[in-house]
C-alpha cells in the first residue's frame, strides 16, 4: 500500500482529497486524513445512495422519528412507542462468522437502546451459498451460533427472520439483524451534543485496536483474492458487557442528566463524536489520552477509528458527571469524561497537550461528496425474461415434486435455526418462529412498570391492553434479480402479508439494501429501480420507511450478489387473544384461497429446484388488490371468522397448504379440489403468484366470511376441507372437452407425516439433527 497515493491509502478518490484540501484550506495531517477517509467512506457517508434514498416515503401520523437517528420510532399508544432498525454485518461475518454475526446483533441492539428503548425482539435475515459446500455450512453454523450467543446472553428474544441459500451469495454471506424496542413516546433519546461546556463521556468497554478500518475498507470495497491483508483485527463481542451497558443506560435515562447519547459503531469515537456535534450544530473537543485503553501504545488515530464494541458516547448536563459515573459504577462499568462541547463547530482532537486534528464537524459528517452514479439496464434481464416455459416438462409425479420442494433448504423447516435462539425470554412471544410473522404481546415481562429501573410507569401497562406487535423480515432476492422494481415491491408486500395473517396491521418498515458495486452502471440501475419499487409499495400499503442501512460492494471477483433489499416490517395487533396461526385447527373446517392464481413460474423455487432454472419475470403485483386483500384478512380475523391463516410464498399454493397441514395438531389432514382453468398444472400448483392468502373457517361461518371478502372485492374460492385422515390429498379439476364438464385427477395423495419429515429435514440433512 505504501507506494499508493496518500488518498488511496485511506480509500478516498483524488477528487475527494482535493475537496478536503479546499475545506481545510490546507493539506490534512495524517490523523485528519484518516478521519476523512472513514467519514467519507461509503459506509459512513452514503455518498452513492443518499440521493436515491430521498425518494422513500418517511412520513406518517404514527412516525415519531424517521430516518437519520440511530433508529426510527413509531407511536403505538399515548404511553408507548416502538423503536426499530435493521443493520448489516455482512463482511465481518464472512471473515469470522461467529463473532461477525454476534457483533452485528450487538450493534443493532445498541442502536435501539440509545434511543431510550428497551429491546424486546430481534429478527434476522441471512443469505448463504448452497449447503452442499462445507464452507457454506461452516458460515451458516457460525452465523447462527453467533446471533444466538449475543441475543440469548442479552435476554432479548430472537423471534423471526428468514434465510435463503443461493449460488450468488457464495462469496458474500449476508447477515442483517433487526431489533425492536419499546419506550415512552416522550422519552426518545437522540445522538446529539448541545450546550457549550457540557462534558462528553465514553462509557462501557475499554478501547483497543479492534476492527480499525472495518468500516472504511472492508464495507466499502469489493472482496478479492487476498482480501485477508485488508482484514482488520476481528472484533470480539462481549454480550455480558453490553447487558450491563443496557441496564445502566436504562437507569441513566430515568434521570434527566443526559443531553444526548450515541452508540459507537463503525469508526467508533470518530463518527460518533462528529455526528453528535454536527446534529447539535456545535463543536466537540476530546482528548484521546482520557479514553480508557485496553492496549498500550495506541496512536491518536487508532483511538479515533477503533471499533471496539459495547461503548457509548454520552453528552451530559454540566455538573451531573458524578451522578452519571455512579450509575455506571453500580453496573461495574467504566465511564470517563474525555472532552466537552465547544462553540466553534470544530471537532478538535487532543493527544494530551498536542492538537492532532482540527476539522469542521459538518465537513466530516455532512459534506462528503454526493454521487449520482450512472445507471444502465443490465443486458441479462431481456434474455432471462424471454425464457420459454413450454420448454419445461410437467412433473410426472406431483407428490414427489411436493416432497422435493418441502425438503428444499429455501422452504423447509427453520427449526434448526430458531431452536438455537432464545425466542421466549421476556414472556412476550405469543406466536413463535415457525409460522409467518412472529407476534409479541406488549404486556410482557418487559412492560414499563415492572422492571426496577423502569419503575413508576405502570400507567403504560394499562393502556397497552392486549396490543401486540407482529414482526417479520422478508426479501426474495430472486424476484429482485429478475425485476428489481417489482421484486422490491413484492418484498414489502410479502413482509406485510406475513404480519397481516396473524391479524396485525402493518405500520412501518426499516430496510437493509444489500447490493453490489454501485459504481457499476448495471448494478446501480437495479438499485435505483428497487428504490422506486419500495417507495411505491410503502406508499400504497401505508408503511413509511423509518430507517435502514445500505451495504454496497457485496461482490467477489467481480460477481455481485442478487440485489437484496431486506424489509423489516412492524405491524400492530389490536388484540393478541384474536391472533391466528397457520396450522389447521379443526376437522370439517373449510379451506379458502383468497386472491388469484395465475400460472407464474418466473423465479419460483419450483423452477429452481426441479428444473434448475432461474429465469422469467417476477410474478405480477397489483398493490391495490394487495391492499384490499390485507384489509379483508384483518377484518375477518378481527370478527373471529378465521381459524387459520397463511400467506402463499415460496413453493406456491401446494406448499402453503402442506405447511398448514404440517403445522396442524394431531391427525388432521385435508382433501383439496383445485380448478385448473388455464395454464400449466405445475404453474397452478407451484407458481408463486402474489397477493394470495389461505384461510380456514368453521362451516357455519363460510357465508359471513365470504360477505367480508365480497365487501372488500377480494376474489376467492373454496379449495377443500380439513379432515382427520392424516393424509394430504389434492385433486385437479381440468376443463374437459365439453363446456362445463371437468376431468378429475388425484394429483397428490400422501400421509402428512411424510410431508412433515421432508420439511423437518430440509436443513438438518445438511447441518445434522
Amino acid at each position: 500500500m505504501s507506494n499508493d497515493a496518500i488518498w488511496t491509502q485511506v480509500g478516498l478518490k483524488e477528487s475527494e482529497y482535493q475537496r478536503v484540501v479546499e475545506i481545510l484550506g490546507r493539506e490534512p495531517n495524517y490523523v485528519e486524513l484518516q478521519m476523512f477517509g472513514v467519514m467519507w467512506s461509503e459506509h459512513c457517508s452514503y455518498k452513492h445512495s443518499r440521493n436515491a434514498l430521498k425518494r422513500l416515503p418517511t412520513k406518517g401520523e404514527r412516525v415519531l422519528q424517521g430516518p437519520g437517528e440511530n433508529a426510527g420510532v413509531i407511536k403505538i399508544t399515548d404511553d408507548l412507542a416502538v423503536a426499530f432498525k435493521i443493520e448489516s454485518h455482512n463482511h465481518p461475518s464472512f471473515v469470522e462468522p461467529f463473532q461477525g454475526a454476534a457483533t452485528g446483533v450487538g450493534g443493532i441492539l445498541r442502536d435501539v437502546f440509545t434511543m431510550g428503548a428497551r429491546p424486546v425482539a430481534i429478527a434476522d435475515s441471512l443469505r448463504f451459498g448452497h449447503l452442499d459446500d462445507p464452507k457454506q455450512r461452516h458460515l451458516f453454523a457460525g452465523v447462527v451460533a453467533g446471533i444466538g450467543h449475543y441475543g440469548n446472553c442479552m435476554g432479548v428474544p430472537t423471534v423471526a427472520g428468514e434465510v435463503y441459500f443461493e449460488e450468488s451469495y457464495k462469496g458474500n454471506t449476508l447477515v442483517n439483524a433487526m431489533c425492536v424496542g419499546i419506550l415512552h413516546p416522550d422519552k426518545i433519546r437522540k445522538g446529539v451534543a448541545k450546550g457549550v461546556g457540557n462534558p462528553i463521556l465514553v462509557v462501557g468497554a475499554r478501547t483497543g485496536r479492534d476492527g480499525i478500518h472495518g468500516a472504511s475498507l472492508l464495507a466499502s470495497a469489493e472482496f478479492s483474492e487476498g482480501a485477508e491483508d485488508k482484514r482488520p483485527s476481528v472484533q470480539v463481542g462481549d454480550p455480558f458487557m453490553e447487558k450491563l451497558l443496557l441496564e445502566a443506560c436504562m437507569e441513566l435515562f430515568e434521570t434527566d442528566a443526559v443531553v444526548g447519547i450515541q452508540d459507537m459503531g463503525a469508526a467508533g469515537l470518530m463518527s460518533s463524536s462528529c455526528e453528535m456535534a454536527a446534529r447539535g450544530d456545535v463543536g466537540i473537543e476530546i482528548d484521546v489520552r482520557k479514553v480508557p485503553a485496553r492496549e498500550v501504545g495506541m496512536a491518536a488515530w487508532e483511538y479515533l477509528l477503533s471499533e471496539s464494541q459495547e461503548r457509548m458516547l454520552v453528552c451530559v448536563q454540566k455538573g451531573r458527571e458524578a451522578e452519571v459515573e455512579a450509575i455506571f459504577a453500580k453496573w461495574g462499568l467504566l465511564s470517563a469524561v474525555i472532552g466537552q462541547v465547544t462553540d466553534d463547530g470544530m471537532v478538535r482532537v487532543l493527544d494530551g497537550e498536542e492538537v492532532v486534528a482540527n476539522v469542521p464537524a459538518h465537513a466530516l459528517a455532512d459534506e462528503a461528496p454526493l454521487y449520482f452514479p450512472e445507471a444502465k439496464e443490465p443486458t441479462y434481464l431481456a434474455e432471462l425474461r424471454a425464457f420459454d416455459w413450454s420448454s419445461l416438462p410437467e412433473p410426472e409425479d406431483f407428490g414427489d415434486t411436493l416432497l422435493k420442494l418441502l425438503n428444499s433448504p429455501n422452504i423447509g423447516s427453520r427449526e434448526w435455526i430458531y431452536r438455537q435462539y432464545d425466542h421466549q425470554v421476556l414472556l412476550g412471544t405469543v406466536i413463535a418462529p415457525g409460522g409467518d410473522a412472529a407476534l409479541i404481546r406488549l404486556k410482557s415481562a418487559a412492560v414499563p412498570g415492572l422492571h426496577p429501573v423502569m419503575g413508576g410507569e405502570t400507567k403504560a401497562a394499562e393502556s397497552i391492553g392486549n396490543i401486540g406487535l407482529a414482526i417479520k423480515t422478508d426479501c426474495n432476492g430472486r424476484f429482485v434479480y429478475l425485476n428489481p422494481k417489482r421484486g422490491t415491491a413484492i418484498a414489502v408486500a410479502e413482509a406485510a402479508r406475513n404480519c397481516v395473517v396473524t391479524g396485525a396491521e402493518p405500520v412501518a418498515i426499516t430496510n437493509n439494501l444489500n447490493w453490489g458495486n454501485p459504481e457499476k452502471p448495471e448494478v446501480f440501475w437495479t438499485f435505483d429501480q428497487a428504490i422506486d419499487g419500495m417507495a411505491e409499495a410503502c406508499e400504497a400499503l401505508g408503511t413509511p420507511v423509518t430507517g435502514g442501512n445500505v451495504s454496497f460492494y457485496n461482490e467477489t471477483n467481480g460477481q455481485p450478489i442478487y440485489p437484496t433489499p431486506t424489509i423489516g416490517m412492524v405491524a400492530i395487533h389490536p388484540d393478541v387473544e384474536k391472533r391466528t396461526t397457520l396450522g389447521f385447527k379443526h376437522e370439517n373446517d373449510v379451506i379458502l384461497l383468497l386472491g388469484e392464481t395465475k400460472s407464474e413460474l418466473g423465479g419460483s423455487e419450483y423452477a429452481k429446484v426441479i428444473h434448475g432454472v432461474v429465469a422469467g419475470d417476477a410474478p405480477a403485483l397489483d398493490l391495490a388488490k394487495e391492499k384490499k386483500l390485507q384489509a379483508a384478512v384483518r377484518q375477518a380475523i378481527q370478527e373471529g371468522l378465521v381459524s387459520a391463516a397463511h400467506d402463499v410464498a415460496e413453493g406456491g399454493l401446494t406448499v402453503a397448504l402442506a405447511e398448514m397441514a404440517i403445522a396442524a395438531e394431531g391427525s388432521l389432514g385435508c382433501q383439496l379440489n383445485l380448478f385448473i382453468t388455464e395454464g400449466r398444472v405445475d404453474g397452478n400448483l407451484f407458481g408463486e403468484s402474489q397477493s394470495r392468502v389461505l384461510v380456514t373457517c368453521h362451516r357455519d361461518n363460510v357465508m359471513l366470511l365470504r360477505s367480508v371478502l365480497i365487501q372488500h372485492g377480494v376474489p376467492h374460492r373454496l379449495v377443500g376441507d380439513v379432515n382427520n385422515s392424516g393424509r394430504f390429498q389434492l385433486t385437479g379439476l381440468a376443463q374437459g372437452v365439453e363446456e362445463g364438464i371437468f376431468r378429475r385427477q388425484l394429483l397428490i395423495d400422501l400421509p402428512v407425516e411424510d410431508l412433515t419429515r421432508a420439511h423437518k429435514e430440509a436443513l438438518t440433512q445438511w447441518m445434522g439433527a
Partner: protein, 235 residues
C-alpha cells in the same frame, strides 16, 4: 409471605420470574440485588436464569462469589426455600448447595425448545401440587444444561429421592431422544437432601400462562406457596 427474585449482573430472566410470581400468582415479590446480605424479609428465593457474569469460565462460576450467595447459604441453612432456575441451578451447583455440575449440552448447541418433565418426587416443597409421574410441559433454554455427577452422587440422589424431574417424551418415558442436553439419567431438576434447596434447568416462569403455550410451570410455584402456607392443595 414474600418471594425474592435474585439477580446478578448478566441475569436476564428476573423480569420473567417476577412477572410469574407477582402478576400471575399474585404473591408479594421483590428483586434481590447481588450485593444484598440481609434476606430476613423473605420466605422463599428464586435465583433467576440468564448469563451471570457472562457465564465466563464456567456457568455460575463467578456469581457464586457474590455477597448475596453467602447470605443465601445462611438462608438455606435456616431451612427456607431456595429454587435456582437454569443459571440459578448452575450457580447453586457451583456454590456446592446442590450436588453435581452442569456441562455443555452433548450436541454442543444452545437449545430453546419445549420439553416434558416427569415428576419423580411429588413430596417436596417444590412439587407437592403435582402427582407422582405427572408430565409437565416446560421449555428449556440453555447451552450448558447437561447434568453431570459421579456414580456415587447419582446413587445418593436416587436413594434419597432427590431427583425432582426427568426429561420424558409425551408418553412419559425418560429416554435419550426426550432429553435436550444429554443429562445423566435424564435429570432435569434435583433437590438437596434436606429438601429446601432445588435446582432445575427448564424455565417454569416461561410456562406460567396458557397464552405462552403452557401454564404447567405454575405447579412448581404453587407448590412452594402451598408449602409456605402449610397447605397441600393440588392445582
Amino acid at each position: 409471605m414474600r418471594f425474592g427474585v435474585v439477580m446478578f449482573p448478566g441475569s436476564n430472566c428476573e423480569l420473567d420470574a417476577y412477572h410469574a410470581l407477582a402478576n400471575v400468582l399474585g404473591q408479594p415479590t421483590e428483586y434481590v440485588w447481588h450485593q444484598e446480605r440481609d434476606l430476613a424479609r423473605f420466605d422463599a428465593l428464586l435465583i433467576a436464569g440468564g448469563f451471570s457474569y457472562g457465564d465466563y469460565l464456567r456457568t455460575g462460576a463467578i456469581a457464586r462469589f457474590s455477597p448475596v450467595m453467602e447470605a443465601i447459604t445462611g438462608f438455606a441453612a435456616e431451612g427456607k426455600l431456595v429454587i435456582g432456575v437454569c443459571n440459578g441451578f448452575q450457580i447453586l451447583c457451583e456454590a456446592g448447595l446442590l450436588p453435581g455440575a452442569l456441562q455443555r449440552n452433548a450436541h454442543l448447541q444452545f437449545r430453546c425448545a419445549p420439553t416434558y418433565l416427569r415428576v419423580e418426587n411429588p413430596n417436596t416443597p417444590f412439587t407437592n401440587a403435582a402427582q407422582q409421574g405427572q408430565l409437565l410441559s416446560i421449555p428449556v433454554n440453555h447451552g450448558e444444561g447437561n447434568y453431570f455427577a459421579d456414580p456415587e452422587t447419582l446413587n445418593e440422589l436416587n436413594r434419597y429421592d432427590q431427583v425432582l424431574f426427568r426429561y420424558a417424551n409425551a408418553q412419559g418415558q425418560a429416554i435419550p431422544e426426550a432429553s435436550p442436553n444429554g443429562s445423566k439419567e435424564h435429570i432435569a431438576g434435583i433437590v438437596n437432601r434436606r429438601g429446601n434447596v432445588a435446582g432445575m434447568m427448564p424455565h417454569p416462569e416461561r410456562a406460567s400462562e396458557a397464552i405462552l403455550g403452557s401454564a404447567d410451570g405454575l405447579v412448581i410455584f404453587q407448590s412452594m406457596v402451598n408449602h409456605l402456607v402449610g397447605r397441600a392443595a393440588r392445582v
